[in-house]
Amino acid sequence: MTGALAVEADALVRTAALSHRYRGRTALESVSLALPAGRIVGLIGPDGVGKSTLLSILAGTRRIQAGRAWVLGGEVGRAAHRAVLRGRIAYMPQGLGRNLYSELTVRENLLYFARLFGPPGPEREERIGLLLAGTGLSGSAERPAGQLSGGMRQKLGLCCALIHDPDLLILDEPTTGVDPLARRQFWDLIGRIRAGHPGLSVLVATAYMQEAARFDLLVAMEAGRVVAAGTPADLLQVTGTADVEAAFAVLTGCPREAPATARLSHGHLPEAPLPHPPVGEPIITARDLTCRFGGFTAVDRASFTIRRGEIFGFVGSNGCGKTTTMKMLTGLTPPSAGEALLFGRPLDPRDRATRARVGYMSQGFSLYAELSVRQNLALHARLFRLSPAQARARIAELLTACGLEAHADALARDLPLGLRQRLSLAVAIVHGPDLLILDEPTSGVDPRARDRFWALLTDLARRQGVTIFVSTHFMNEAARCDRIALMDAGRVLATDTPAGLIAAKGAADLEDAFVAFLKEAAAARGETSGHLAAARAPRGAEAGGLFSPRRLAACAAREALELLRDRVRLGFAVLGTSLLMLVFGFGISTDVDRLSFAVLDRDRTPASRAYLEALRGSPYFAERPALTDEADLDRRLASGEIAAALEIPPQFGRDLARGRPTQVSARIDGARPFVAQTVRSYLSALHEQALTPSPARHDTAPAAIAVRFKYNQSFDSIYAMVPAQIALQLALIPAILMALAVVRERELGSIVNLYATPLTRLEFLLGKQLPYAGVAMVNFLLMVGLALVVFRVPLRGSFPTLALATLIYVFATTAWGMLVSAFARTQIAALFGTAILTVLPATMFAGMLVPVSSLTGVGRILGDLFPMSYYLPVCLGTFTKGLGFSDLAPTIGGLALFVPALTLLALAMLRGQEK
């Protein structure tokens, strides 16, 4: 049925045999489509059927593996056309505002996108104002995006997408996890925008079949294939069904399962319907429960009572306070005010007896993914102190009841989402709890799996009298609860049976009722949904271009702002180098002095004391109490109390006076070879010195060897260590921060803005580099200050030369971080990878510990290829050798070559599209 739509020559979107695979898993299987312009086209199907893959390929953000695709009159596979598309398409990826920057405010987010697309200043402000007013976000313009509710984030995402007035809007599940009112407002908004811009085409993926019924055209997908395409009416007709959900079930050949196929044994309760209103004793009582985080009130005076055997639903959008309320009831989050009673007693997080009666499923998947299904169950059975026999029986029973027998030994991480949720439930009830608290147990699960899950829940409540407190944002799930509480912005709006709520608002169904409650609450808060003026701003987007200073500035400003808002990262960026420099500067020293020694003087004559005087007067040695005998010597050397022991033989004075050969013996602690060698050479020198004062012996030195320690007469290691630390820290920290900054975007998902907007890779990288190079220069000044003031290492040479070299150097080291980031998938890998790949060459091959002039072979080559090998001589040269620009120009020149070389390499490694 693939070709159900007429193939038009001027189709908006056309694909031919498009296929895509992820590590052997098929996401798209030979998809050929043609979609007309100017419509709303919906992609429908459960999770994981390839909808997102198809949309990202059409948006040009994902590389095509096989087949071809044309969008807006050009081929997506061609880079030149993609550059054009970036100005004409707006793409909202899946996930609530994944392409937004949570630390920036609503206005800052919009400003960033506006700058990327580039209408001039006054027009930009006007357009932002228009969009904010139109989406009702004006009142929240200064709030950080991360604190917005799901619905607001989606609206902001849409604003950002519309900032450049696109011709094609690609939306990937824009309303998942959003409350019904926000969902309606969202589609109203799209409708108004289309009214003002008739040419606008919208391509949207959705899991809500009710929404899909209102689109112009639908494309149904299953397992990477298009199974049907046409208008909603066509689909109903073809399948002979009454609604899109049913039509979809028929098309995929999987009619909805009969509910409650699964049964849990024991506890043969009669299957009587629950009397309304419920009459059992209260299991949970919440009175004015409140939770504040800083200035933000997550839950505001929530009150409700849940009785034995009830399925009590908690309904509301993402971020409305459901999770926080549940966490307060489990004792995970202490309430700021109000009280909670569990089983009639005040909640006490330390009360284990109560905890043993509660089962909890936290939001998302919260089991040990690296354990098998059976291991997960066994671990929890142990922790709930089931006896081994009980545990075995219970696990076998749960595996059967939840339909997991076939997967008992599979790793939890390899299970599909629906099975994982069932495993989570099995784990939550392994100890047969009286109360189950389930936080959005079905979010992200497809309708069929959800249905089966609810069958299990109903069975638990009806047959075993388990009280179930469950949160959801699906209205059809809410309808299956005995009673529900509607929650919005931290407040419980109403609590009643589903029928009661519908009746209270005189609505047609639960969703309408909820919308009515939400509108009432919004009106009470004085919010308006806003109206988007039909007036269109003139097209501002300019055609790509390889480099634009404006986009670069936008990128740099945004990165700097994000850094300023992340305190841990900022603290590390600004103070990390100074702290480490202090530690290393004081902690690494090759000076060996104040060595502890003790003497075993068996002679005790003026002669022996005179001999020892030389040692005692030396600053290198510090004497400890005299040794009493051989055993004392062994013991104190072994305990590390003394580094050397000197033994003067009996008759030393007499032998010396008579010129008879005699022997002083020294024993040195060899635990630290470097120290031992130094002690040995000091002792030899002092021994010579102790004997020379006698004028008769003057001729023992036939020639004098004058050792001149150049650049550092006192031979104090601090003069070499401090400049080397500046070089090392400026290699390490800026590179780590840079690598983190790039990988962070990849991990959080905002990297999609690089793929989908006119921002080029060069602008992206340089835009990140500028703030970190700036921070590094601040670090440099701080460290020079520390060197001068704390370590008292004078700067003998030219500061401007050092500053210039440093500026070049920090661009080179941040480029090094960029390069490393290309290989790292996670932030933690980027962090450690960069640290290792920087510290190793820095200490081994760049001249910090071993002079470059001593390196040979591979070590020498690696040293030559590392920027610090060029910067360290400049740093040492200006600090200790007193050199100026003319002396160091060739070295600085070598250093400068790294900046373009590393940047180009990093550029080549950074992909412009996802795989």
Binding site: T333, Q375, G576, P661, V664, S665, D669, R680, P702
Partner: protein, 374 residues
């Protein structure tokens, strides 16, 4: 008893998780094998291939004899350069040592006029400069003495100094660096493994899950401590026997069981620090940044790189609170000097005490750590 069972079962879960994490396993394997070998073979703490230039203005058999005496592996073959090149060459860091033999050196020497040779040392190359200058002086003095003894007799010194280096007679660096490498690996891995174990549980939401079950934060923490500690302890034992004793041939003087017992106490401290950092950090990257700021000072200021005696006295005093310092001293006493429990127990007590302190700090933060950030 019930508590012990919960700690045991939670710990087996930790072990299972670790066994499935190939990256961490690889890191552990590398840290206790290749990394130890690499550190043992590194020449950073000794003089090797030092670069020498000679300004020979004497051009005599003696001056050539001196030049030929600079031999590998300590020195690279000396390069003859002219006197006027000295400053530039040293400014550019081309040579660490420049020996200047003045004109008429041999003649003055034989004429007992005590001529002066000059040894210029680039003091910015700290590690090599100090020891290398000593060797260079020794070489020059020996050659002059040898040269003179051929031409005239000189009396032996009446008092000789016999030095014996105890425990490591040839002062071989690998003996030292290999064991210190193990200690640094212990600190590094114990902190990161236990810290990551907490952050991972929180990122996956499983910490919430544990906290609502009838297990206490103490049990959760102890499970992580014993499981991660046991893995590292086993790695330390194997590394000492197979890598240090076996591959590197370093004789281990003291009692291995005593050393491992002390290591277990130190692991308690290091994993407790990791747990504490894990409760402070909101995400893996934050943990990584905190970790760098904690691990690097602990390791650098432990006495395993630079002896405490060489640090400023105030710092050396302050560092008496660092368990790593005590552990390094403990390890050196047992492994090199063969010390027994009677000598080392005062090192163990502070390690255990400070470890306990961090455990208490971590437990106090445990519940708060699970609260959402926004």
């Amino acid at each position: 008893m019930r508590s012990a069972a919960a700690i045991f079962w939670l710990g087996t879960k930790e072990l299972r998780s670790l066994m499935r994490d190939s990256v961490l396993l690889g890191l552990i394997l590398y840290s206790f094998s290749l990394a130890i070998l690499a550190q043992a073979r590194s020449s950073a703490q000794e003089v090797r291939d030092a670069s020498v230039a000679i300004v020979d203005e004497d051009r005599s058999p003696l001056s050539r004899r001196i030049a030929q005496a600079f031999l590998p592996p300590l020195f690279r073959p000396p390069v003859p350069i002219a006197e006027r090149e000295v400053v530039r060459a040293m400014d550019a860091g081309r040579y660490t040592f420049v020996l200047d033999i003045p004109p008429n050196f041999t003649r003055d020497l034989l004429g007992r006029r005590t001529p002066e040779l000059q040894l210029n040392v680039d003091a910015t190359a700290m590690m090599q400069a100090g020891l290398g200058a000593g060797y260079a002086q020794q070489i020059v003095a020996d050659e002059i003495a040898g040269f003179l003894s051929q031409s005239r007799k000189s009396a032996p010194a009446p008092v000789s100094l016999v030095t014996r280096i105890a425990y490591n007679p040839n002062a071989e660096t690998p003996w030292f660096t290999s064991v210190m490498g193990i200690i640094n690996s212990v600190t590094m891995l114990a902190i990161i493994l236990s810290g990551a174990a907490i952050v991972r549980e929180r990122e996956h939401g499983t910490l919430d899950h544990l906290l609502v079950m009838p297990v206490s934060p103490f049990e959760i923490a102890m499970a992580k401590i014993w499981a991660n500690g046991a893995v590292i302890l086993a790695a330390v034992g194997l590394s000492l026997v197979l890598v240090v004793r076996g591959l590197l041939g370093v004789p281990v003087a003291g009692s291995l069981p005593l050393f491992l017992a002390g290591t277990a106490v130190y692991l308690f401290f290091a994993t407790a620090v990791g747990l504490y950092l894990g409760t402070l950090a909101r995400s893996m990257p934050q943990l990584g940044l905190l970790y760098l700021l904690v691990y690097l000072p602990l390791a650098m200021l432990s006495g395993s790189n630079t002896p405490l005696e060489s640090m400023p006295p105030w710092l050396a005093t302050l560092l008496q609170v660092s368990p790593t310092v005590h552990f390094v001293a403990f390890a050196q006493a047992i492994l090199y000097r063969g010390a027994g429990l009677a000598l080392v127990w005062p090192r163990i007590v502070p390690i255990a005490g400070i470890g306990g302190l961090f455990l208490v700090l971590a437990l106090r933060r445990f519940r708060r750590a699970t609260a959402p950030s926004g």
